[in-house]
């Protein structure tokens, strides 16, 4: 990992000297005990191996070899305590000692180096594996990049900066004050070059191993970012498909809902056009009135559809403003006035003047839909009531009627998209259709709730709440 520091020469000299002295002392001791010099020379050989190992350098081993040779000559060859040798066997002994010492010293040193290299390789392999595995569970561009930066920090000990081409992103964000990088690695992926990873102050530590680590981080970063992009694309496609489906269903439902009123309109209109003279005044008036009413209903449908299109990515786009609930109720009532004529209609507003944050136009639409429903799906003699109550954190609006109540079949699915009274029959009764679904979407987008329950003694209660705080 870190470049090897050569041990200081002084350190080595001391170590070698120590070993040499120990070897000499041991040898002298052995000689005193009467052990022959052939065995003693082995001690010096051991000394050479030790000094090679301890100093991690064969040079000191060689130095020790020569020193040992001289020492052996001086202390143990005849004549003793001189540098002269009488016997040829001694010369040969020393010669072979020297050769053996130098060779084995050198080999030991080599072996030691090999072990170090092998250990380094193993460490590097571990790191590379950690890098590869480290990106597996991370998601989100920021997290992935930060992970790569922390790897560089951890394994190389250097600061780094990632610059992405696609969105101009720079991580870490406040990286503009940095100097010129010492090394730059491209972030490559299947989709081409995604950017660069810049490393600072790495001149000294960037050897082959670390280069490998750095470029491995860059590669894994590229792969992880690629994966992230693909995932995002997939999500977007899914959303787009869902939206398309929703739109298709909406269109189908609307077209379906239009058939009945259009039939009525066509009929009445045609009748008036073709048989004008044959009809009585009363009949003509009735037809014209019917036409107007049907068209009014259609107009409301159009408003609902328009509101539906404001649902973007399953969220309604709201513009909240403070509105007085009185105003909103007033406008809604104006819209259904004609329709509600002749019925008993009660309105109850809270004692105080209450201002509620809401998108006024949309809530007006909710009220219109609820009232229209009550009118349309109850017999003409049923009463309708609109009540507003102020709570501590919400206001509660209740539209109730004394009609025939909700059909059991659709009770649970009232607010589901495009529920119709007769699901199976294709040209069945006029749908409850869009109205309540819109109400639900609008109310929930405001952070409120909507629900339906039976009224006492008979009929239906539809209520929704709106939060009073922003």
């Amino acid at each position: 990992m870190i470049a090897e520091s050569q041990q200081k020469p002084l350190n080595c000299a001391l170590k070698t000297l120590l070993v040499f002295m120990v070897a000499t002392l041991v040898s002298l001791g052995m000689s005193f005990l009467g052990i022959s010099k052939e065995s003693i020379i082995m001690v010096y050989l051991l000394g050479v191996l030790f000094s090679s190992t301890l100093t991690s350098s064969f040079i000191w081993g060689i130095i020790n070899s020569f020193a040992s040779l001289l020492a052996f000559n001086y202390f143990f060859t005849e004549p003793r305590f001189t540098f002269v040798m009488y016997h040829t066997t001694d010369i040969i002994l020393l010669a072979f000692f020297l050769i053996t010492a130098i060779v084995s010293g050198t080999m030991t040193s080599r072996l030691q180096k090999q072990i170090l290299i092998a250990e380094k390789n193993e460490r590097t392999s571990m790191i590379l594996y950690q890098i590869a595995a480290g990106f597996l569970l991370v998601s989100g561009e920021k997290n992935i990049v930060m992970r790569s930066l922390s790897f560089i920090e951890e394994f190389l000990g250097c600061a780094s900066v990632v610059k992405l081409d696609l969105n101009g992103g720079i991580y870490p964000e406040a990286a503009n004050g940095y100097r010129i990088p010492s090394h730059t690695f491209p972030i490559q992926s299947a989709a081409g070059n995604l950017g660069v990873i810049q490393i600072f102050n790495a001149e000294e530590i960037m050897d082959k191993q670390n280069e490998l680590i750095a470029s491995s981080v860059a590669t894994q970063l590229g792969i992880a970012l690629d994966r992230e992009n693909l995932y995002n694309e997939q999500e977007n496609i899914k959303l787009a498909m869902e939206r398309e489906q929703l739109r298709a269903t909406l269109l189908r439902s609307v077209a379906h809902d239009l058939r009945s009123p259009l039939t009525a309109l066509l009929g009445a209109g045609n009748l008036l056009a073709d048989n004008y003279e044959k009809l009585t005044d009363e009949e003509r008036k009735k037809l014209a009135l019917d036409l107007s009413e049907e068209i009014l209903w259609l107009t409301n449908l159009v408003e609902n559809i328009l509101n539906m299109t404001r649902i973007n990515e399953s969220k309604l786009v709201l513009k909240k403003n403070g509105e007085i609930i009185d105003d909103v109720v007033s406008e809604a009532i104006t819209h259904v006035e004609r329709h509600i004529k002749g019925r008993k209609f009660n309105v109850h507003l809270p004692e105080k003047v209450v201002m509620v944050p809401m998108d006024g136009k949309l809530i007006v639409q909710v009220l219109i839909n609820l009232l229209e429903n009550a009118i349309r799906h109850t017999p003409p003699d049923s009463e309708i009531a609109l009540e507003v109550f102020e709570g501590r954190k919400v206001i509660k609006v209740v539209v109730s009627d004394t009609g025939n109540g909700i059909d059991n079949n659709i009770k649970d699915k009232l607010f589901d998209k495009f529920v119709t009274l007769d699901q199976g029959v294709t040209d069945g009764k006029r749908g409850i259709g869009l109205g309540l679904t819109i109400c639900k979407a609008i109310v929930e987008a405001h952070g409120g709730t909507i629900s339906a329950e039976a009224n006492w003694p008979k009929g239906t209660r539809l209520m929704f709440t709106l939060p009073l705080e922003e």
Binding site: T299, G322, S330, I333, T334, V347, K361
Partner: protein, 231 residues
Amino acid sequence: MVDRTKILVIEDDQYISNFIAVSLVKSNYDVFVSSTAAEGLFLFSSHRPDLILLDLGLPDQDGLEIIRALREFSDIPILVVSARGQELDKIEALDLGANDYISKPFHMGELMARIRVAERYLSAGAGASQETEFICDYLHVDFEKRLVLIDGQEIHLTPLEYKLLLLLIANRGKVLTHNYIVKKIWGYENESDTKSVRVFMANLRRKIEKDSAKHRFIMTEVGVGYRFSDE
């Protein structure tokens, strides 16, 4: 013989302009119809109408531009016809000088009511109204004595509420935007004060309206403003 009021209709949809023209003629107005802004301005200068019905969605020019252009040399009452839900357009049209607006789809009844209101301001002219009192249905306001009576019983209004009521009565039949009300009552335009307008209006309503279900006098146009109805 009284001159018939001349109305210029600038509307590009022929079905709409047809039924408007027929209804207006039946109600004893003189009607001129044009389907483009250019044609409309030409008819304006050649026939000198008393009132203009202007559709905001014309093909050749933005309705708001036309209002701006007309207002440079004429005070002629302009009634704007717009699609429902285009609040910002309506407010801008009113701020630019349009007198009132009506949203599609509308009943002829509504349109006729608006036209009658506009006519009233025509004949009233620039002179300030010299009315001493206003009586309508169960509401009686005596301007000199500063009294407001509901069914003969005096009710108490705060000074601001009284001012509001006067403003509404003075402009009865016409729509007043929140901003306009703030300007007239408080004397300056301020975003947050439009909320105060709503609160004051709600309080006023509670005092002078008998039926909370069916408002008799003060009509709300959510997102735009208020209208005092004396029909």
